[in-house]
């Protein structure tokens, strides 16, 4: 299906959602990250915790996505990436992304985020260089795709908070999961 079609589907899906102010989400997320930074000794374990929380959110959020987005099964991983970038991100965070940088096997790509509502009011001091502030989103994508039996790896590779020009998430397809898999989180 075409990119235009997905853009439209994302708009429609978002219009059907209950809304909350983006600022409130940003403030809440900021407070959460602050608390994690206080609780954990190492910044890396904050990243891990954020990713884990995202994963838990993703495995629940995907149900709502499948129910409300009106998107059918994806043809291939390229299709999946477009759906995440144009429909899922739009529907939940009211932003879209561009999918670029495909490798030759079409198993890895980069999502270039046009905007990230979590980043509002945020400035990272130099001492926090190791913090992947938006890592939650990566967890959501991983958790969501795992529920549709697709194992991926997903992480921020560029972040405007760290002085990069754009925010970019690297997304890589790993394998299709068999029906019975172990829920690593429970």
């Amino acid at each position: 299906m075409s990119r235009q079609h997905y853009l439209k589907a994302g708009e429609v899906a978002f219009s059907k959602m209950d809304k909350v102010s983006a600022e409130l989400l940003a403030l809440t997320y900021g407070s959460l990250v602050t608390q994690l930074l206080k609780d954990k000794e190492e910044i890396e374990s904050v990243n891990v915790q954020l990713e884990k929380m995202g994963y838990n959110i993703g495995i629940r959020l995907v149900d709502e996505f499948l129910a409300k987005s009106g998107i059918g099964p994806c043809q291939d991983f390229r299709d999946t990436a477009e759906v995440i970038a144009k429909v899922a991100l739009k529907m939940f965070l009211n932003v879209t992304a561009d999918v670029t940088g495909w490798n030759s096997d079409l198993t890895a790509c980069t999502l270039v985020l046009h905007d990230n509502p979590l980043n509002e009011f945020v400035e990272l001091p130099a001492s926090m260089a190791g913090l992947k502030y938006g890592e939650l989103i990566c967890g959501v994508i991983r958790g969501g795709l795992e529920q549709v039996h697709m194992r991926v790896s997903c992480t921020f590779v560029k972040d405007v908070l760290k002085g990069d020009d754009t925010s970019e998430i690297a997304l890589e397809f790993k394998e299709i999961l068999k029906e019975e898999f172990v829920d690593e989180d429970e």
């Binding site: 978002f14 809304k19 909350v20 600022e23 989400l25 009211n94 509502p117």
Partner: protein, 219 residues
Amino acid sequence: MVDETVTLPQPPAEVAESPFILLCNEWIRYTSEAFMARQQQQQQQQTDSKSNPGAAADGTTDGRPVAAGAGEGSSSSSSPSSLSSADVDGVMVALEEMGFMLGGKIVERLTASRSRLQDEKDIVKFICKDLWNYLFHKQADRLQTNRRGGYVIQDNTLRWLRHMPPMPDTAPPHKRPMAPVSVICGIIRGALTHLGLSASVSASVAEPPCCSFSIKIPS
């Protein structure tokens, strides 16, 4: 002639509510589990130091006072069904603190472009209208006062409780309706504190999603 086309500030962009609710739930769960883990660790240290007096020094290096009644010989408290009420209260206090932090920040944003609220009544009204609108897209359903610094805010359809299934008393603390309600208590207290009123806020959930918050402002 003055150009009338002044650009109004953009309304704040919106996002979907469900990821926000799920995020709050994850945070509640994290806070609750982190509290329980600390509690268990302390208990462990206490039993260790009882059975092995030589380890007593290690058991207290944490420097935290062990909550009264929490560690009294209840070695079975590792299973969630035998949570002491002190543990549950402790979790709710931790959640309230988390809300407190958030409440201050929210009000800082909300009041950035308005004059200072002086009157106690105006401040409480601000909570019922502006803060409620910001959090739940509606105003609180009812506000009562005893005119002596006591206020009760009632909401019949608290959004954050809408999707909570009924939970037995044995459910882990983060799954009880009291969990998000404790956070909201904290948000209210944080908001009041930021507006210059130190108050105590408590809540009762008679029948979710109906909920009432009582505010006591010492004169």
